[in-house]
Each structure stands twice: as C-alpha cells, then as structure tokens.
Symmetry: C2
Subunit: 249 residues, 2 copies
C-alpha cells in the first residue's frame, strides 16, 4: 500500500498514521500512554495545534482516549476473553443463563439490530444443516457500549418451526435451552476460526477504525447423535477479543 | 484509509485495488475466476495491455494465479486446517510424529530460519513460564513452498538445559517427546487466539500482500501437575489458515 500513499499528506495525518501503525502492530498496547503534545511538538518541530490534531485523529477513530490532565492513552477497552468450551457448557445454558454472561463477567452488554426471519438457505448453510429452509437470527452485541460482534444463527426451519427460536425473545437459557426442549440439545460443537479484513457493511455496524481485521468464528452445534441443529457465523472486532481454547494432550 | 488514496492513481492500479478488495473481503473466494481481460476491457473501456497490467498486480502479490488458456484465478492455495486438539494429542507426538503432519496431511512442508538461543525472558514470557531465563526456538514454516507461519517457542532454561530442545534437530516426536523424556510431558494446553495487522518484519518473512491480517496463537503447555513447560507464540498468515476446535457441551 505504501506506494499509493502520497508524500504530501498533512503532517498531522502522517504523525497519526505512524502512531496508528504502532498501535495496530501491537508495539503500543491497550492502556499505553501515547506521546504527549509537548513530545510531538519537539520531535516533529510542529505547533501545539498540529500535535493536538494528530492525537484527535486517533481519538476520533476510537483507538485512543484522552484522560483529563494526564494525556492520551491507547483505548482502554478491556478485551473480552471468550472461552471456547466453558461458555457453551450445558451447565451454562441448562441453568437458564445467557452464554454472554460467561464472556462478559458482569460487564454490561446489549443486543440490538435483532432480526428473525425465515429464509431459503445459501448453498453453504444448506450443506452444513442438510436442509433448504432455515430460520435465521441476526443480531449485534455491544459490550461497555461498544459494538463488538455480529452473529447470524441458522436453524433447520422444519425443526424449530413454532418454537420460541423463531421469535426475538427466546427465554431462559436461550436457543440452546429451546433446542433441548425440542429434544435436540446440542452435545458437540465445532468452531472454525478465520481472520480477514471486514466488508464495508461489517466495518460500519461494528464501528471499526481503518486497518482493524475481524475474526470470523463459524460454529456448528450437533446433537449427541451427530445431527447438526445450528450453524452460527460470528464476526468479531479483533481489537475487542481474545479467544481461549483449553484442551488435553 | 480511503481519504489518503489519491484519485490520480493509474487506472490499472485502481482496477487491481478493486479486485483485491473483493478478494480480501471474501466476496471473491479462493479458486474463483477473476474477470478476464475482455471483460475488464469492455467494463472500463481500456486497452488489453492495461487489463493485463491490472491482473499482473494481483499475480505479483500472490493473490491470483494465471492458468494457461483459462484465465486468472484467486490463488489456489488450499487453506491449512489446523485442528486445535487432534494435532496435539499424545498419540501424535508420543509416536514420534511431527505435529505438522497432522496439519498438512501429506502436503510438503519445510522449516527454515531456525534459530535456537538462550535468552533472558521478556516480562510476559517470564510471567507465564515462571522463570527469568529461557531457551528460545524461532522458526518459519512453509507449505507448498509458501511461508505460512512464524513460531517462537520458549522453554524454562534450567528445565531443558543439555536436552535436544536446545539444538536445531529435536528428534522423533519433537520438543513434546523430549519434554516427556525429561519427565514433564505436556498434558494440558491453553491457546489464546487473536488477530491483528502484521508488523513490517512479519509481512516480510511471510511474504504477505498488503491488507492481509495475521492470526496470533499463543499456546501454553502444562504438565499434568499444572507446571507450565512451554510458551509458543505463532503468527499465521490468515489467508492460509482455518483453525478448528471441537468440544462438548
């Protein structure tokens, strides 16, 4: 990309680009203090207003937050530790808990943009779920007021028809408890994890600053008998998540 | 970023940028045929040489491959399915197999840039391994001739001193079999998965085209008694990998 970046960008943007690169590369970490106005002024021989402009770029992008009287810090959003197996244990949803409680440990989270529709399955979903019609649940999750995940769940239509899975509110324990009510409780999960750059629509819904990749988790839930009962594609803001998986040798 | 991209880029670069964006967003997938020279000529009212130049950009970046007489395709590198638990099962390394055999299923892979050194641990590594001195194994893995992963393993120095772990060739079953010889066989693993943009050095070593994020897997191996015996940080070309994790409800 460097070839296509012109050298006549205003100095405040070049400084912001440099700081952003250090944040995105991991050199500057969450909670680190950015160089202050005085440091930028002397390092680059610029006026205070220009230094302030450079920091404002990162603040506007959500990559940094000012703390009154102390400086500007790499944004203090504490990553969500998403624990692959514990969060999906039967104890969790079997007792009527939301799976999200396991992820956020008491931090406030919200679900919005909920859409529940019956659709014809895409080829990929039809292959996984072995059916042509699906109920689809689309929603966006926010933690501490910040959108962090888009999730789209697919269920075989004939299986969940007339259940609460086809309504916005699924009740205690959520969709997995409802699948249990239908006699097809999930017993095994497979998660496929990828990373890529976001599509424009994903950037918009997640409010991602430029240069932030997404993690895509595609999970299939199977009954004890091996029947696939849900396919869930989750798109995660990579800056907001650590995925943890524990297993034995 | 779009603000910083000048509008006077040559047309072949703008076409290449558009195609690249469609590949990186997942709209065009591995193995898909790119628009041909004739299509580009009529869509953009350009000469054949210009259409060829646009496609050449993606070929040079390793994002596409020409097939004689058939067109240009999104690069046909088959993603490596890295199976979180199966690959690290005791059966695997206990029988003297390389863990990589489980990943690549017979595809040719190579290890280069091997470096084995004794170092003072960083604060992070010292915290995980509970020790100030470590043996470090750095290497790069390639599959089908393409670099796909950088891996850096850390071992408590006093534990592995004088073992084959401190030499480039570790013998059948690799470092885990050698830890077994030392009476500290790994029994539990924790993997933390993140995604981010690569640092310049990582881009260079992995030959990443612009706009390709990396997946970072940080694994800690523990003995049955809970003693940490290895910390391994792996940086994966996100375009080359699918990580799979299976678990029960």
């Amino acid at each position: 990309m460097s070839e296509s970046v012109p050298h006549d960008l205003p100095i405040y943007r070049r400084i912001a680009d440099g700081l952003r690169a250090r944040i995105l590369s991991g050199e500057l970490r969450d909670g680190d203090r950015l160089p202050g106005e005085n440091t930028l002024m002397s390092d680059y021989s610029i006026a205070r207003a220009t230094a302030r402009q450079a920091l404002a770029v990162l603040i506007n992008e959500g990559l940094a937050v000012p703390k009154r009287g102390s400086g500007v810090y790499v944004r203090l959003f504490k990553p969500i530790r998403r624990h692959g197996s514990r969060r999906l244990s039967r104890e969790q949803w079997g007792e009527g808990n939301a799976i999200w409680d396991a992820d956020t440990r008491g931090r406030p989270f919200a679900v919005d943009e909920v859409e529940v529709v019956r659709e014809r399955a895409s080829d990929e979903v039809a292959r996984v779920l072995d059916g042509a019609e699906v109920w689809v649940r689309r929603r966006r999750y926010s933690v501490d007021g910040r959108p962090v995940q888009l999730a789209t769940s697919f269920f075989p239509a004939e299986l969940v028809e007339d259940s609460a899975i086809t309504t916005p509110e699924t009740g205690p324990g959520g969709v997995y408890a409802r699948l249990g009510d239908l006699g097809v409780a999930p017993a095994h999960f497979t998660e496929e994890v990828r990373a890529r750059m976001p599509a424009p629509r994903e950037s918009e819904l997640l409010g991602l600053p430029g240069g932030t990749p997404v993690i895509v988790v595609a999970r299939t839930a199977y009954t004890a008998g091996g029947r696939p009962v849900e396919y869930n594609e989750m798109v995660l803001d990579s800056a907001a998540y650590i995925l943890q998986y524990d297993f034995d040798a």
